[in-house]
């Protein structure tokens, strides 16, 4: 029912519409069509009334034929004007309609009634219609034309003298109506014009906004496709986990790395992905990093085995969406090759050092047999040569030991003991190791223990001895006369120190900061003169650091150097036993 109504309204609307680029003209055309429709309906009714009553009365009076003929003319005019109006000549159609209506009205009643009687006010209709159909001021023209028509009617019917004054009043009324009509139509048209401006502005804004949105959309798409391209082209594997720990985004590299298609990663949790491929301990470490999102700082990398591969993974928290919690982005790097190389390197170092030490042991051993004169007496020159043979072989052994220590320190494989030891024993061991070398250069190694150093200390005596042997050996190497002083002290309550001073050549200020670097001696010519590869001090530094201490150097060229190793004083702790 409703649909049917809508259809009728729509049809009628379409019939009445006049297409014209000027919205005012179109509106007036539509109004004219409405009036013409009214005229059409009225004249159609008049035609049928005339026809029926004409047949009923046998066409005796002149009224019925007149009504019928007038109705036919009215119908024809309505249809003609309708088509004229639809063709776009709205103005012409309106003028004809208005003039026609004045003409029609002038014959619609007796002249006396029209001039100053019951029908005078019909002239108001074209006046009002004119301001609506043509333009607001057209009502004045129509008022004057109506006045003229009124006067003409009076003149032709000889009523001018009798009704002149009345007609004049009528004309004044017409003009007043025209004025009111003009005012109201004008303000109406102005309001409509304003509305159109507002609408146009609104349309422009909507268009602008739409264009902006479209551009932004294109930008976002470009940006995201750029990010996608970056993500897809990087060699590292990337997985983004949302706040629930589920993988939401992966790149092709990670599929390759984990040998899993992306659809078997997305939507799964890290623990599901790791199951069976990663050792349990490593799984916990990875989980801790994926979940440990409290700190906004980048978390350190984690190295672990995933199946046959060694991966280096780093994790960083990210805000995926505004409202949900934080997710984690995990970046996996294939570290298999590097891990293999590292393993090979440490294997090579330990193998080479073992293979080198065995023949060196034989050289030293045979040398000692000769030196001990087990196979018979030696001349002084022979004994001297054997001594040099042994000394050089021993130098080679200590170099290999240094290299091995260095490799262990680098690989983090060197483990420190933590046991009680006697400082006095430490110095005794030092003297038994270094005295022969010192004596060979006519130098004395003098030791001193400050009274406030405890009789028992905690630490790794072997490594402490290594530190001392390295420092004293170094001091002997660079000192030609004078003494080497070794002092154990306690600078404050929480620390104890090892101090080795010499009266040697000293180290220039510019070189002092480099002496702890690997393969570094203050002067490369010193290496040739004094021997050694410069590993000793770097090992001292690394060991001291490993023990939680530090090494300081004070030196003046020509006066000597003092190395001080300061270490935390760990008082013996009672071991807990159940």
């Amino acid at each position: 029912m409703n649909e049917f109504k809508l259809k009728i309204v729509e049809r009628t609307e379409r019939l009445l519409t006049v297409n014209h680029p000027d919205p005012d003209v179109a509106r007036r055309g539509w109004l004219l069509n409405v009036l013409l429709l009214g005229l059409f309906v009225a004249t159609l009714a008049g035609f049928w009334i005339g026809l029926v009553s004409g047949f009923a009365t046998g066409w005796q009076t002149e009224g019925e034929p007149l009504l019928t003929i007038a109705s036919v003319i009215g119908l024809a005019s309505a249809v003609g004007l309708y088509f004229l109006n639809r063709s776009g000549s709205v103005r012409l159609a309106a003028i004809i309609f208005l003039l026609g209506s004045i003409l029609l009205m002038s014959f619609s009643d007796e002249p006396a009634q029209l001039i100053a009687g019951r029908s005078t006010m019909v002239y108001i209709l074209p006046i009002v219609m004119a301001s609506v159909l043509l333009r607001p001021s057209a009502s004045f023209v129509m008022a004057i034309l109506s006045g003229v028509a009124l006067l003409m009617l009076a003149l032709t019917n000889g009523l001018l003298s009798a009704l002149f004054f009345t007609a004049l009043v009528e004309i004044v009324i017409f003009l007043l109506v025209a004025l009111v009509s003009w005012l109201s139509t004008r303000s109406l048209e102005k309001a409509l014009a304003d509305l159109r401006v507002i609408n146009t502005e609104l349309d422009r804004r909507v268009a602008d906004r739409t264009r902006d949105l479209a551009e932004a959309l294109i930008r976002v798409q470009l940006e995201s496709s750029k990010n996608q391209a970056i993500l897809e082209s990087i060699a590292d594997g990337v997985i983004v986990f949302d706040h629930t720990g589920q993988a939401t985004l992966v790149n092709p590299a990670v599929s390759k790395l984990l040998s899993l298609p992306s659809n078997q990663i997305i939507g799964y949790k890290i623990e599901t992905l790791m199951a069976g491929a990663v050792a349990v301990g490593d799984q916990e470490a990875v989980l801790g990093q994926v979940r440990g999102q409290e700190s906004s700082a980048r978390l350190p990398g984690l190295r672990f085995q995933w199946g046959k591969k060694t991966l280096l993974a780093s994790f960083a928290p990210i805000q995926i969406e505004q409202d949900t919690g934080r997710g984690t982005v995990a970046v996996f790097r294939d570290f298999t090759r590097e891990a293999e190389l590292e393993n090979m390197k440490s294997l090579l170092v330990s193998m080479v050092s073992h293979e080198l030490r065995t023949p060196l042991g034989a050289i030293i051993g045979y040398g000692e047999i000769l030196q001990e004169r087990i196979y018979g007496p030696l001349t002084e020159r022979q004994a001297n040569l054997v001594g040099r043979l042994i000394a050089n072989a021993q130098r080679l052994v200590s170099l290999i030991n240094d290299l091995l220590d260095r490799a262990r320190l680098e690989a983090g494989k060197l483990k420190l003991q933590f046991i009680s030891f006697s400082p006095q024993q430490l110095l005794d061991d030092l003297l038994s190791t270094t005295s022969p070398i010192a004596k060979a250069k006519n130098l004395n190694v003098v030791t001193y223990i400050a009274p406030n150093v405890p009789e028992t200390l905690q630490g790794d005596p072997q490594r402490l001895l290594q530190i001392l042997v390295n420092l004293v050996g170094n001091a002997i190497k660079f000192t030609d006369h004078g003494a080497i002083n070794v002092k154990l002290d306690r600078p404050d309550e929480a620390h104890w120190s090892l101090q080795v001073s010499d009266t040697g050549i000293g180290i220039p200020p510019d070189d002092q900061q480099h002496v702890f670097d690997v393969f570094q001696q203050a002067d490369s010519s010193a290496t040739r003169q004094h021997g050694g590869a410069g590993l000793g001090l770097s090992i001292v530094k690394q060991l001291a650091t490993l023990m939680g201490g530090s090494v300081d150097l004070v030196s003046a060229v020509g006066q000597g150097s003092t190395f001080t190793v300061t270490l935390p004083l760990n008082t013996p702790v009672e071991e807990k036993r159940d």
């Binding site: 023949p359 042991g361 034989a362 030293i364 052994v397």
Partner: protein, 120 residues
């Protein structure tokens, strides 16, 4: 005779002969074995006073030989000197061995230790 036997289990011929020389100077009779499996069998037959033991040996490692010696009641009096280049491994066996010497082993040191062990 077995009371003064020094057994050297070392796969390097030169080191073995040097060790033998040192033990010889400590007035011990010496026997050299270069293979771990041979040593394991031989240790069931003889009761050495002192054993100089290398850790890296063919077929049976020095570590296993040390355990065997310690598990054999007949060898309760046998003193074991570990001579190895592997300082880390040696550290782990310090409790079970009588002496640990890290290569290169000093000839005179070994001689002196062996002498002391023989007298003890």
């Amino acid at each position: 005779m077995t009371d003064s036997l020094g057994l050297i289990i070392e796969d390097d011929a030169d080191l073995a002969s040097i060790f033998a020389e040192a033990l010889h100077l400590a007035e011990l009779e010496t026997e050299i074995i270069v293979d771990g499996a041979v040593a394991a069998a031989r240790l069931k037959e003889i009761v050495p006073k002192v054993v100089v033991l290398d850790l890296h040996l063919p077929h049976v490692s020095g570590e296993i030989l040390l355990r065997q010696i310690r598990a054999t009641p007949a060898l309760a009096q046998t003193r074991v000197i570990i001579a190895t280049a592997d300082a880390v491994m040696a550290e782990g066996l310090r409790q079970e061995a009588d002496l640990v010497l890290v290569k290169p082993v000093s000839f005179s040191q070994l001689r002196d230790f062996a002498l002391r062990m023989k007298i003890a």
